[in-house]
């Protein structure tokens, strides 16, 4: 067509698309001169929109007529037969190719989809897959796309052979391969299913297996992967050349070292004379780069350049250190905090804006953010600031989890039976970082109303202030203890003062009033005598508590690294009814055993006594007169045994006990015993934490561990029975022990603890339990 000026444009064949749309994409308008070249441009532009199957330009006089044939619209995509790849991923993949509901249908894309799906299944080792795509034309220019997938079975690795390994046996080097030939565990581990990534990962492991043991010039010569004609069996062969064992003859440190050479040399994990090991070289490189990045050189790079002396079979290592420029932080930006305030995050950061970059400060900040317990995920990355080579921004992306619990409902624990509790605990009160909780709890043995508030940052340095007011009614007998009733009202103010990066001191002042009622037939005589001698039924105390805690744990829920050590001394001041002190020491340590196993050891000691002995009010010749009523008041005693204490024994039943009437209900029968607790408590436990199966790796919601618990309570002056006097003072063979499995899950309703334990050291009359659990209550 020759050129002509367009007087008007008319578009034919449109049904779904509006004319206006075509005009916006059409590069030519009324009044333009239409040259053949412009015409082609127009056609190409319209095709690019993807709306049309066919576009034709024709001329009627000076009117440009654009006839288009609209592509049918895809109303539905049906995928059948896909098991390995989820429907959502498939649809996302198709969207990427341009095939989605509502889009225009392009037949070319159908073939592309077929290839793409086949390739995805081949990658998963399903070489027998058959993917058939078809389309069904509907009315009004619509079309339905159906994709039928017959996955077939994945090809199984029947033969995995490493050729050329003389020094190590096949078993040794293939031990930690991911792929393996079919064996009796394959139905679960699926390790015999071939996949290319798994194989390349295994070859890398093979290379590091050799390189970590001195074979510096080890190489994988070639690998052959072959398949059986029926495409169900895979045969993998790797041919290697082991080379020789090399020892390190000299180590040089070159480049700009920044730090003193002997500091750096101390960080090297490989020494001259040792057998070459790539793992040690890498660990040395890591040590130096992290040391440099801790003091500001974020882009420090260390290149271990080996020079191999083939005949002497020695290798010299030259660690070339290139620190790069000292890097500064321009801005610290927080992302994802829809609920938490910016300041709550920023005050935890140890890396300030405008100061030089310190990887140590950033790691520390990440741990501090994780320990707030508000976030399920904390990711910190440091993108470069465009246009500068020595400035970075620190972007902290957090994923908030609801840190509050609106616990309403029933909890059950063997100790307390059914617990009806209503409570609002909000750890991150409207994002201000304050902890506010209002709780009411009613169960068979305890009735408690509590209001508490904690502001972690009273001052900028992080001195926290908290108030706590509570009213508790306790029926001890329901709690497996000697039966008496107490009703306590207490009010406390406490200050948390940080004295170092991981040490805090808590100072607490408080008032409390405890009323004790005894039931004539049920309370052991010793307790009644104690109260009569003391002459008081209600105990008023105003007390002080000092505690010091050193906490380096890396997470708020279920930590896996670090340790906690705390010493606390509680003192009731002169003027209280009974002036006593209670001392508590607790030590917990998490140690990394392997990548997936963590050792958790913890032990606690508690001791309490009066520091000014009360005098009996009864006259000495009174039958119930007791000269010595010193020692902790009985309701302040320590107890042992229970779901979160020495597992495998009923709650609070270990240690000294009393009996109502020794004749009718002998102390040997465990149901007649009324535990009294004791003034000295010792508990220790060792656990190995396993990764919980079926749960995302290192999530902090669940914890599965095998444990051994040891512990007991001693020293109770109210002991009357000979069997009770055996707990007079600390004696190692009175310690009880148990072993078993424990599972904790931080469910939305509150932490759930389930223990299966078997006592391994018990005495007749102990009240043991194999299964213990508690859920829905956080006290």
């Amino acid at each position: 067509a020759d050129t002509f000026t367009i007087s008007d444009i008319r578009i034919d064949g449109l049904s779904r698309i509006a004319p206006g749309t075509v005009f916006t994409y059409l590069p030519v308008e009324k009044g333009d001169a239409l040259t053949p070249e412009r015409a082609n441009q127009a056609i190409r532009a319209l095709y690019k929109t993807g709306f049309f199957n066919d576009v034709q330009l024709s001329r009627q006089g000076d009117i440009l007529v654009v006839t288009v044939k609209e592509r049918p619209q895809i109303t539905k995509i049906v995928i059948r037969g896909n098991k390995d790849i989820q429907e959502a991923d498939l649809l996302k993949g198709l969207k990427g190719i341009g095939l989605a509901e509502g889009e225009a249908f392009d037949p070319l894309k159908l073939a592309e989809v077929q290839d793409e799906l086949t390739r995805q299944y081949y990658n998963r080792g399903k070489y027998n897959v058959s993917v058939k795509t078809s389309k069904v034309n509907l009315d009004r220019n619509r079309v339905e796309v159906a994709i039928n997938v017959a996955e077939g079975k994945a090809a199984k690795i029947k033969h995995l052979n490493v050729v050329g390994n003389t020094v190590f046996t096949d078993k040794q080097i293939e031990d930690d391969f991911e792929s393996n030939t079919s064996n009796w565990t394959s139905w679960y581990t699926k390790d015999d299913q071939y996949s290319r990534e798994k194989l390349s990962g295994d070859l890398e492991k093979l290379q590091s297996y050799y390189m970590d043991r001195g074979y510096a010039d080890f190489s994988v010569e070639s690998t052959q992967v072959s398949i059986s004609p029926d495409k169900r069996k895979m045969y993998v062969t790797a041919n290697i050349k082991e080379g020789e064992v090399y020892t390190v003859n000299d180590i040089k440190l070159t480049g700009a070292l920044i730090l003193k050479e002997e500091d750096l040399r101390r960080m090297l994990q490989i020494k001259t004379g040792e057998v070459f090991s790539r793992a040690k070289v890498e660990r040395s490189v890591d040590a130096i780069t992290s040391a440099l990045s801790n003091i500001g050189y974020a882009f420090a790079d260390v290149q271990p350049i080996p020079n191999i002396d083939k005949d002497k079979r020695e290798v010299g290592l030259n660690f070339f250190v290139n620190p790069g420029k000292r890097v500064y932080v321009r801005q610290v930006v927080f992302k994802g905090n829809q609920h938490t305030e910016d300041e709550v995050l920023r005050r935890e950061m140890r890396q300030l804006e405008g100061s030089w970059y310190s990887q140590a400060a950033i790691d520390r900040s990440k741990i501090r953010l994780q320990r707030l317990g508000f976030f399920s995920k904390v990711e910190i990355d440091t993108p470069k600031v465009p246009g500068t080579d020595d400035q970075v921004d620190v972007t902290v992306t957090v994923e908030e989890q609801n840190s509050g619990q609106f616990t309403f409902g029933l909890g059950y624990s063997q100790v307390q039976g059914l617990i009806a509790s209503v409570g609002v605990t909000q750890n991150n009160f409207f994002g201000t970082g304050d902890r506010v909780s209002v709780n009411a709890q009613k169960s068979s043995f305890i009735e408690r109303y509590q209001l508490s508030y904690f502001e972690p940052y009273l001052t900028d340095e992080g001195i926290g202030i908290g108030y706590d007011i509570q009213h508790t009614k306790l029926d001890a007998s329901e709690n497996n203890l000697a039966s008496y009733l107490t009703s306590t009202d207490a009010f406390d103010i406490y200050l948390g003062i940080p004295i170092s990066e991981s040490d805090t001191i808590n100072a607490q002042m408080g008032l409390s009033k405890t009323g004790v009622d005894t039931l004539t037939f049920y309370t052991p005589q010793a307790i009644i005598d104690y109260i009569d001698n003391l002459g008081h039924r209600t105990f008023h105390t105003w007390n002080m508590q000092w505690s010091w805690a050193h906490d380096t744990r890396n997470r708020f829920w279920n930590p896996t690294r670090g340790s906690l050590q705390s010493v606390s001394l509680e003192l009731t001041l002169p003027g209280s009814t009974v002036q006593y002190y209670k001392f508590n020491y607790r030590f917990a340590q998490y140690l990394r055993m392997t990548d997936s196993l963590t050792f958790f050891g913890h032990f606690g000691v508690g001791y309490g006594d009066t520091y000014k002995d009360p005098q009996s009010v009864l006259s000495p010749d009174h039958p119930r007169y007791r000269a010595d009523i010193s020692g902790l008041p009985f309701f302040e005693n320590f107890y042992a045994g229970g779901v979160t204490d020495v597992r495998g024994f009923r709650d609070n039943t270990l240690g000294p006990f009393a009996v109502l009437s020794p004749t009718t209900c002998p102390p040997t029968d465990k149901n007649c015993r009324l535990p009294l607790g004791g003034a000295l408590k010792f508990v220790a436990s060792a656990e190995i934490i396993f990764p919980t199966p079926f749960v995302k790796e290192n999530s902090d919601a669940t914890r599965l561990s095998a444990f051994v618990d040891v512990g007991n309570v001693f020293q109770n002056k109210l002991c009357a029975l000979p069997e009770c006097r055996v707990y007079k003072s600390w004696s190692a063979d009175q310690l009880r022990a148990s072993a078993g499995l424990s599972f904790t899950w931080r469910a939305p309703v509150g932490p759930i603890v389930i223990n299966i334990a078997r006592p391994i050291r018990k005495k007749p009359g102990d009240d043991t339990e194999t299964i213990q659990f508690t859920f829905g209550n956080t006290f």
Binding site: T75, Q331, H339, D342, T432, E455
Partner: protein, 255 residues
Amino acid sequence: CSLFHRGKKGDPMDTLPVEQLYQQGNEALQSGNNDYAVRVFQRLIARFPFGPYTEQSQLNLAYAQYKSDKPDDAYSTVNRFIKTYPTHRHIDYAYYLRGLINFNRSGGFMERYVGLDMTQRDQANLRQSFDDFGALVTRYPQSRYAADGRQRMIHLRNMMAQADLNVALFYLKRGAYVASSNRAKSILETYPQTPQAGDALAIMVKSYHELGQDKLADDAKRVLELNYPDHPSLKGRWPSYRSNWWKLIPLQNRG
């Protein structure tokens, strides 16, 4: 219409002609029954993929989703509308609605009724809303939504400036004067005509003074006096940090 609204066999939504279906959708929208409106419009678009009603119901669908607090769906629906019908006569309303979605997108149920201070939180949604309103104002300056769009953009800019100002104050209080001065400088550069610019200048004066940069402090002070003569920092002690004793009273510093 039938008691059960779900798309059961013989559900009227599958048989009604397009006009009545469209009518039902609008009635549900007027009466605030947004979830039902969303379902009706979705069925309409699926059954009648083109025609005058379809275009309008795509827009109504986006509005219904926005009203029933499904910001993500609403945002993708309105985006699809803009791509498919760029020359629709209500296209300016579509841009306006797109800006609104992110403007009001805030946390959950409690936050909306307690009115949290969004300048303390993640600014991503606000920035997105600012860009969307920007598109409206540049493409359709004379649209009747443009004026309101401009107002909201100014408000958004002030909020973003306030967010940066909070950070600058945070570092000022903690004695990190280089950080506070740089933050203040970035406010001046990115949000020049906002009321917060005055405070930013004041922060720069104080920071440079603390850093011993008297010459720079004087420069900044002169600019401050010129543009914000009655700024509190020129007179008394500024910024007035509430003393820590106030903080002893619980719950008073809710954000």
